[in-house]
Symmetry: C2
Subunit: 477 residues, 2 copies
């Protein structure tokens, strides 16, 4: 059995992959990890003391009891206790139970907001199958980059990031997404959120006050906008994407849109709306920020090209590797209209938030060699199958759900029948260990409908079938 603790913090809308732990366990070991069990045990015991979960003076279980509880050999526990004794965390005396040293001053009380339910079935959206990250290929790119980089790449360098990466990026984005830009317009960022924060701060400094955001849309993204000083203005989304009439009426200084695959509704911005959106931008001078967050995953036809390609001087394009490779890379980009480049560079000069140079160069190599294309081909097949399985199972087990949106991305949008109680259904599902989110969590104004937002990227096909069976059971209970 692999037990992993739920991590704390940036799990973007609580959409995390790990099942939470049984609270009665003193420490937990991950048998799937490369770290040895004895190293894990030592580290976690030390952390438990430091965090005050093991109080000064308190008694530890006997080595025999802990070994049995964890299902490991007693020798490992004896060795871990001895190490922590030598480090001063534990007091060991022959014939008595090991105790936490009185002298240890616990650190800050751990303030981890633990998820209140156990996740056995993972249907969270927004995370890719990061376990499929092509480690060997990435390492090869990193090695080549490290060997080839001139020394000067190890200094600060251009605020926009490495020229080589920016050239590789605009070439890739031009080919795959129809983005029209030279590397002069591209900035390497520490993920999407950092790109959006950078853009919003620059808009704010240049006098913008408001940014339209899609409603429903990603709650964390609204938070990012808000924290930069811009006021997010909710603009409704319907079956054709963002409502441009409502946008024109609200007339914010900028608008953030997801034209290729709206989150969470899964709709694609219609051709007519695309034109009208750009007309609005041209006539008002407002900026369109394009969040192209999972455009690489379209399963039924080629993805629509980026809006940016139609109006490079009206649209700022934002993307990242968080959905295509892994969020842990913290790599993103911003392709900006000419008029913003200077201000963006100034802003970076005072934040110096750019990805590490070596990682930038590794990614440039990875792009140039077509490794991202190869990885995406593999993942598209995998996700498409998983999506088909999820949609099929939902149709079978919960025919009352109505699937909306196109075959794309990493989640489906399942509308509940009129009169449903979304909150009650979510609670029932969570009570059965299903990790999922509902439309309400993503909506700013109360939505007219109720819906579930179900991710399929992280679960193998049998797990998806099991999850849907459990979901059906939760609903019928």
């Amino acid at each position: 059995m692999v037990i992993v603790k739920v991590h704390f913090g940036t799990d973007f809308m609580d959409q995390f992959a790990q099942p939470s732990s049984a609270p009665e366990l003193l420490v937990e070991l991950d048998r799937g990890a490369a770290e040895t069990l004895s190293s894990q045990l030592e580290r976690r015991l030390r952390a438990a003391v430091r965090a005050g979960r093991l109080k000064p003076g308190s008694t530890l279980p006997s080595t025999r009891a802990l070994a049995s509880q964890l299902g490991i050999s007693r020798g490992l526990v004896v060795a871990a206790y001895a190490q922590l004794g030598a480090e001063g965390y534990l007091v060991l005396s022959r014939g008595a139970a090991a105790r936490v040293a009185e002298s240890v001053m616990p650190g800050a009380e751990s303030s981890r907001p633990r998820r209140s339910y156990r996740v056995a079935h993972n249907l969270f959206p927004s995370l890719p199958d990061y376990g499929a990250f092509p480690r060997e290929r990435w390492l090869a790119s990193y090695r080549r980059a490290l060997k080839a980089a001139p020394d000067v790449e190890l200094a600060y360098g251009d605020s926009r990031g490495s020229e080589q990466l920016r050239a590789a990026l605009v070439s890739y984005l031009g080919r795959v997404r129809g983005v029209s830009a030279s590397e002069e317009h591209a900035l390497a960022c520490s993920g999407f959120a950092s790109a959006l924060g950078l853009l919003a701060r620059v808009l704010c400094r240049s006098g913008s006050r408001t940014m339209g955001v899609e409603d429903p849309g990603h709650a964390v993204i609204r938070g990012i906008v808000e924290r930069t000083g811009l006021r997010p203005v909710p603009i409704p989304v319907d079956d054709e994407g963002i409502d441009v009439d409502a946008l024109v009426a609200a007339s914010p200084d900028a608008v953030l849109v997801t034209p290729a695959h709206q989150f969470p509704t899964g709709v694609v911005l219609s051709p007519e709306r695309r034109t009208r959106l750009l007309d609005w931008a041209a006539s008002t001078g407002a900026l369109v920020a394009e969040d192209d967050y999972d455009a690489e995953f379209r399963y039924d036809r080629p993805a629509v090209g980026a809006l940016q390609g139609l109006a490079p001087e009206r649209v700022a394009y934002l993307g990242s590797t968080s959905k295509t490779l892994a969020p842990g890379l913290r790599l993103g980009w911003l392709v900006a209209p000419s008029r913003l480049v200077r201000a963006l560079v100034d802003e970076v000069l005072y934040t110096v938030i750019t990805p590490p140079r070596l990682e930038q160069l590794a990614f440039a190599d990875f792009l140039e060699r077509g490794e991202l294309d190869r990885h995406l081909r593999r993942m598209r097949l995998r996700y498409r199958k998983r999506r088909d399985v999820l949609v099929g199972a939902l149709a079978r087990e919960l025919p009352e759900l109505e699937m909306r949106g196109v075959a794309a991305g990493l989640h489906v949008f399942a509308v509940l029948p009129p009169g449903s109680d979304e909150q009650r259904l979510l609670a029932a599902a969570r009570g059965r260990g299903i990790g999922l989110t509902g439309l309400t969590e993503h909506a700013i104004r109360p939505p007219r409908e109720q819906a579930l937002v179900l991710g399929y990227a992280l679960s193998p096909e049998p797990a998806l079938r099991a999850a849907v069976r459990e979901l059906a059971a939760a609903f019928s209970a």
Copy 2:
């Protein structure tokens, strides 16, 4: 001859390592780079077209002329022209000169603020000898980290960064700098500026309005503080470090100090001032932010321990690898008082600005294996010798300069005789290709004295001697 372009952007106070290029060159090639000359040539020609430096329709030099100008074989130029012809950037026709295609739309005008003088002698402070970055050892750590990391490290994870890195960091900082903290208090950040920005934003959100900053101090750092919304309040620095009486009088909500080695004066905060600074913090509840920016480099005696160790709940500790390894790593940290941890984590949740997980794990491995210690031992020897050479040469050639500050860090602070004209001397030095800065650039209020701030980390010993001879010539002219 190695010609490298001056990069644009984050060169922190114009303290860059590269000599600027002769403007008449169409493209420049770096013979020291690992990238092939043909690849460099292609890339730079492409960039010149995109940036509009080569205008649509304009004629290129003949392959023979360009080859001769660059000192490379004509074949390389022919191949580069052919490639760019195939890509549509150039129009090639037999018997006529190559032209830039009319259809190419140049991108944003390159807005690179070029340094207005050529740097032949590099005495900029604030950059380490990044060419000495231990690439092989780093790669070994990265490889181990990549192989060992559990999949979940590739997701978002704890906002504070990898638990393994935070544990390794607090252990290292405890051992080397006397920092007292558990990993619960440590956050991995994208360099020092990102750590400071994070801290300042959180202070700002919790109601702080002002942050004391040392005067003189680093101008970019004041800019970082200012852009978070806090107002920087200049506090004078004298021979004992920050003037605590002035601090008490100004009574800002927080203060940023460099106790181990003040920038740029090079003084160490005196024991009495340390106590009074912490007393002030305790009595007012103000936060002390400790910028421990080059504390690992003390040459005459062991460095004074971090202030943070004396009052972990009053002092936030900030550091990075930018001076110890290389700025390009973009790795830094913040060790925060317990009461701030929750708010810091919330802030990171909405910026998601953390170093890439793999880099964090690589650095954890690098620390755990003592690689940083080994590297620092090597670099301390090297810098100490360079410092001795610079100080010796200055004493010989420019005896009128008075050296201040302790034997530490990466720069010396050389006070000019009364009645000197710092600006004129700087201009004369720059006219002779010496890259350096003066006290005035770092001062908020007009300083009582005039001084030069001279870095020695980046130049080998003969280059330092030559630079000082040139400096003396500039002064006597």
